[in-house]
């Protein structure tokens, strides 16, 4: 029994170091590669030919006035820091109610050679900002301004 208690601290230290190293590795490599949950429009346009073959999720703000609905299909533009991406959504489900002008959205699908992103799924992304609707005069000031900068 005494032997077991003498051996254990080293094992515990080794296990702790391995786990902490693994967590740190995940945390610091996650930012650099393209295995992120979504890509920005800038990254999509900078991917070159790889952009056309991958199944991707792109994030951006819905350009005001660009939404054109046809049944459950929607055509719209995503904006991100001055870059624009046209999206054509052809899915079976209508987008959620939170999908509207200036809202953050994620489009899942493939990037076409025609420069249009063909989405099969639309997901709204909520801002982490909670405020009651402002009185009419301020209404336009409360809309989402931009995606959080690349994290």
């Amino acid at each position: 029994m005494a032997n077991a208690t003498q051996k254990s601290p080293l094992k515990i230290i080794v296990a702790t170091v391995v786990i902490l190293a693994a967590v740190a590795y995940l945390a610091f490599t996650g930012n650099s590669d393209n295995k992120q949950y979504y890509v920005t429009i800038g990254e999509l346009q900078g991917m070159g030919n790889k952009a056309y073959v991958r199944h991707l999720r792109v994030a951006g703000n819905v350009a005001p006035g660009s939404i054109h609905r046809e049944g459950t299909y929607v055509d719209f533009d995503l904006l991100e820091q001055g870059r624009k991406l046209s999206v054509s959504y052809k899915g079976v489900e209508p987008p959620p109610d939170t999908f509207k002008d200036d809202s953050q959205a994620l489009a899942v699908g493939t990037y076409g050679k025609d420069g249009v992103f063909h989405a099969t799924q639309l997901q709204a992304k909520c801002a982490s900002k909670y405020a009651p609707a402002a009185p009419a005069a301020n209404a336009t000031a409360t809309t989402a301004s931009a995606l959080p900068a690349t994290r």
């Binding site: 949950y37 939170t98 909670y130």
Partner: protein, 245 residues
């Protein structure tokens, strides 16, 4: 002793009464008094339930973690104290599973309403599901392992499970997620309007009181079970000593 039990019982009932009152206040604030969110409308009111419960579901695992460490430390040095720590660890793990389940379920309902999807494998949701699975496996291990070492094994598992807690917490800071970035202490485009804070804090207080209430009752129950088990073992030993005569 009888006197002490009676006054403890009174404190417990008082606690329970205040807890119900606080939860009623929280419900009234969250559903009726607070203005609805500009972007999400009435669906955004689930914020006052999902967020406090999610915060608490990352707090109880630490009670489990420290109780498990204490159990491992006392296991050979002072087995009776170790049993107390073990009861606390079990209690905290059960409450963790309750809170994590509510967090996942309210999150799925909310996600369906505002994102358009029930579930997605982003880092936050995945790490939270992992947390739930880890504590479910902790409880399963305790219940079904028959080796006699199950308390020790469970305590070791608990130490490893605790590693996931900071990962869940940091996931929305480290990685891009479907889940929103932190509302409290987040970036420039985050935060909550002061008019919404009362609903949030009433619910945080109420659900924290609920968790403590469950912890205390469950702990008392587990201690009684342990004492009854000891009593039984003692009687069995005494009985076996009497047989030869």
């Amino acid at each position: 002793m009888e006197q002490r039990t009676q006054s403890l019982r009174n404190v417990a009932w008082l606690w329970f009464g205040i807890m119900v009152a606080v939860l009623v206040m929280g419900f009234r604030e969250a559903i009726f008094l607070t203005p609805k969110d500009a972007a999400q409308g009435d669906a955004g009111r689930i914020f006052y339930y999902h967020v406090p419960i999610a915060m608490l579901s990352l707090l109880f695992p630490y009670i489990n973690f420290f109780a498990s460490l204490t159990f491992l430390y006392w296991r050979r040095r002072d087995p009776l104290k170790a049993l107390t720590a073990d009861a606390l660890a079990l209690t905290a793990a059960e409450v963790t599973v309750v809170y994590a389940s509510v967090c996942l379920l309210t999150g799925m309902l909310w996600g369906r309403a505002t994102w358009g999807i029930w579930w997605t494998w982003d880092p936050r949701l995945t790490s939270m599901l992992l947390l739930w699975l880890l504590y479910v496996s902790y409880l399963t291990l305790r219940r079904f392992s028959s080796t006699g070492q199950s308390h020790t094994l469970a305590a070791v598992l608990s130490v490893f499970a605790a590693v996931d807690v900071p990962i869940v917490y940091m996931s929305i800071r480290w990685w891009r997620t479907q889940h929103p970035a932190p509302v409290f202490g987040g970036g420039p485009d985050s935060g909550i309007d002061p008019s919404m804070l009362p609903a949030f804090f009433w619910n945080l207080a109420g659900w924290a009181m609920w968790g403590i209430c469950m912890m205390v009752f469950r702990f008392a129950l587990e201690r009684r079970r342990q004492l009854a088990e000891q009593e039984e073992a003692l009687q069995a030993i005494e009985a076996s000593l009497e047989i030869p005569q």
